[in-house]
């Protein structure tokens, strides 16, 4: 066999091995509980973003990932915008419908994403939670955070104010290493 053919074959075999084993090792759990896909690229909580949702629903608060609630919760929220947690968040019919379609299509029980399984598993099928911060998974993840750093912190004020501490939230990352609590510093658990 020619030398080039020999080395070419080795190279091809190596590439094939690498590709197939990446597929096999895809989706493995890592230390931080993250789900890793091909080439260690982490899934984010925001695989798809809708411009209308981003514009309309981050005027007052962080645009929460659709995957954090089941579709039925989003339907209820979008159907009661005139009394949206005490505020009037009315939209015109077309805008409301577009956003509701987006949210229900990307909801945690409709489209898999980084945290959808964790959130949905902890929600009883008889419940229709309206507040992400009151779901069991959220409360478990934040159980070690003292209230003084959040509700008692003038720069944060509420657990619904995700982006004030989670510096990568707008990109769908809630990684523990990206947490900086205003007035307090990095969160190292």
């Amino acid at each position: 066999m020619k030398k080039t053919t020999f080395w070419g074959t080795i190279l091809l075999a190596g590439c094939l091995t690498l590709s197939i084993s990446s597929l096999a090792w895809g989706d493995s759990r890592s230390d931080d509980g993250g789900s890793y896909g091909l080439w260690s690229q982490k899934e984010t909580a925001l695989p798809v973003m809708n411009k209308a949702y981003q514009t309309e629903c981050s005027a007052c608060h962080f645009a929460y990932p659709a995957s954090f609630l089941p579709a039925r919760s989003w339907v209820k929220i979008m159907g009661t915008l005139e009394n949206h947690f005490g505020e009037n968040a009315e939209l015109d019919a077309a805008g409301r419908q577009e956003i509701e379609q987006y949210l229900t299509a990307q909801a945690g029980d409709q489209a898999p994403s980084r945290f959808s399984r964790s959130f949905m598993r902890a929600i009883d099928s008889a419940d229709t939670p309206l507040r992400i911060s009151e779901t069991a998974y959220f409360q478990r993840e934040h159980r070690k955070v003292p209230a003084g750093l959040v509700t008692g912190n003038a720069k944060v004020r509420s657990f619904s104010n995700c982006a004030s501490c989670h510096t990568g939230a707008d990109k769908g990352s809630f990684n523990e290493h990206g947490i900086v609590i205003p007035g307090h510093g990095r969160w190292e658990d």
Partner: protein, 138 residues
């Protein structure tokens, strides 16, 4: 030399924004007149802006100024969430009053929340006159 090009470009952008605001305000006020409104008065707009009304759910009196400040050039603060709100004055915030749909959307929401009802065409025109032209300059 290049610096002057930048200065001129920025002035044109500022002028463009100012023109956009005036165009949108004129168009909105024309539509309010068609709905039966009369002359628009910034002083009336200002007095409505700070008029307090009891809000049952908040358990306190509220007005436009409660969140947006009585001084249109300053940053406001949402009474419930504490979120900072950019100044209303177009002179401080070039985006203000440049989008008719946005104006109507916030009138619907905020009149209903603050006063428990939609604002009339007259009230909306007076509010725009106050925000756009607080000194009632012609």
């Amino acid at each position: 030399m290049m610096k002057w090009n930048v200065v001129i470009a920025l002035l044109l952008v500022a002028a463009g924004n100012a023109m956009a605001t005036e165009t949108v305000v004129n168009e909105r006020q024309a539509s309010y007149r068609e709905a039966g409104a009369g002359n628009f008065d910034a002083a009336r707009g200002e007095s409505m802006w700070s008029r307090q009304q009891m809000h049952a759910e908040m358990g306190q009196s509220v007005s436009c100024a409660t969140c947006h400040s009585g001084n249109l050039s300053t940053v406001g603060k949402h009474i419930r969430t504490g979120k900072l709100i950019d100044p209303m004055a177009p002179s401080m915030n070039a985006e203000r009053l440049t989008d008719a749909a946005k104006i109507e959307k916030w009138f619907t929401r905020n009149c209903k929340w603050t006063w428990g009802r939609e604002c009339t065409a007259q009230e909306k025109g007076d509010f725009l006159q106050f925000i756009f032209n607080p000194n009632n300059r012609r």
